[in-house]
């Protein structure tokens, strides 16, 4: 099975990728570039993380970059209810991930989600986010505590990279929904041109050297 790992630059996603690489799965990394709502340091961290994973597992992990801040986050923020920004952001990431995975012949998406860890990762939000795609989603960390994830990250040498200072997402609303209902999200999504955005993003995906 071949997996497209959504790699953010944080602590969790490289650990999730590591666990599946350890089991022998083929992994490609896709980073959703959130600039200008984050900074250049995120990209550098992602490069370093993928390089570290390559060193650990002794194999190439192709890294791809897809624009996300513009046009996706921008379109959501301009047109939709602010409280759903994070859930809609993730639904769009998954959509791009799915189209990208199919394009390169991969079978599933891999994320570092852990239940209840942040606002976008409540059970209801995860459900609403998952419904955006039909492709299987692999979430190896779903039941892990943060401490367990941090310990693995330290053991494999990704922790020190993940904690390099980089700007948190600046477009996150003050009160993000933690209880998103799918029907509300679908209504909000009618306000943006989803297919057009996905096509635009897909046209700008590039492979990045690590």
């Amino acid at each position: 099975m071949k997996l497209v790992a959504l790699i953010s630059g944080g602590i969790d996603s490289p650990v999730a990728a590591h666990l599946m690489l350890r089991k022998g799965y083929e992994v490609a990394a896709l980073h959703m570039d959130n600039r200008p709502f984050t900074d250049d340091a995120q990209l550098e961290k992602v490069r370093m993380l993928v390089k570290r994973l390559e060193e650990i597992h002794g194999r190439e992990i192709p890294l791809y970059l897809a624009p996300h801040g513009i046009p996706t986050q921008e379109a959501i923020a301009r047109n939709c209810s602010r409280r759903y920004q994070c859930v809609m952001c993730r639904r769009m990431m998954f959509r791009v991930g799915e189209v990208f995975a199919r394009k390169i012949g991969y079978d599933a998406l891999l994320t570092g989600e852990s239940l209840g860890q942040v606002a976008s990762q409540t059970l209801k939000n995860i459900y609403a986010e998952s419904q955006a795609i039909e492709m299987p989603m692999i979430r190896p960390l779903i039941g892990f505590d943060k401490e367990e994830i941090v310990q693995i990250a330290k053991d494999i040498g990704t922790y020190e990279i993940s904690i390099i200072p980089s700007l948190c997402c600046t477009i996150t609303p003050k009160k993000p929904s933690i209880n998103a209902r799918l029907k509300d999200i679908l209504r909000e999504e009618e306000k943006i041109r989803i297919e057009e955005i996905v096509d635009t993003v897909m046209g700008k995906v590039v492979r990045v050297e690590v």
Binding site: P36, F37, D39, E74, A77, P165, S166, L167, C168, T170
Partner: protein, 86 residues
């Protein structure tokens, strides 16, 4: 506009400037002024705008600024230059 605090933000990756009192800026008006002053407008979403001259700056409608630099002196210069347009 006056700023109460200029400090490294929580992630230590940028400098944030907190206004003395919360504003309710019309960032579309601010955008016109900044464009005329030579700032590049990267995006303006209404409650948040991202602009650039020497340093990329996120401007919130509350008046809060986030400057993508860790150099506090440089940040203070940028804030001083920007302040009169807000």
């Amino acid at each position: 506009m006056k700023y109460r605090v200029v400090r490294l933000c929580r992630s230590s990756a940028a400098i944030e400037a907190i206004p003395e009192k919360k504003e309710n800026l019309d960032l579309y008006e601010v955008e016109e002024k900044l464009r005329a002053a030579g700032y590049e407008i990267i995006t303006n979403l209404g409650p948040i705008m991202v602009v650039k001259k020497d340093v990329e700056i996120t401007i919130y409608d509350t008046g809060k600024l986030l400057l993508k630099t860790k150099d506090e002196e440089k940040a203070r210069e940028e804030i001083e230059a920007l302040r009169s347009y807000l």
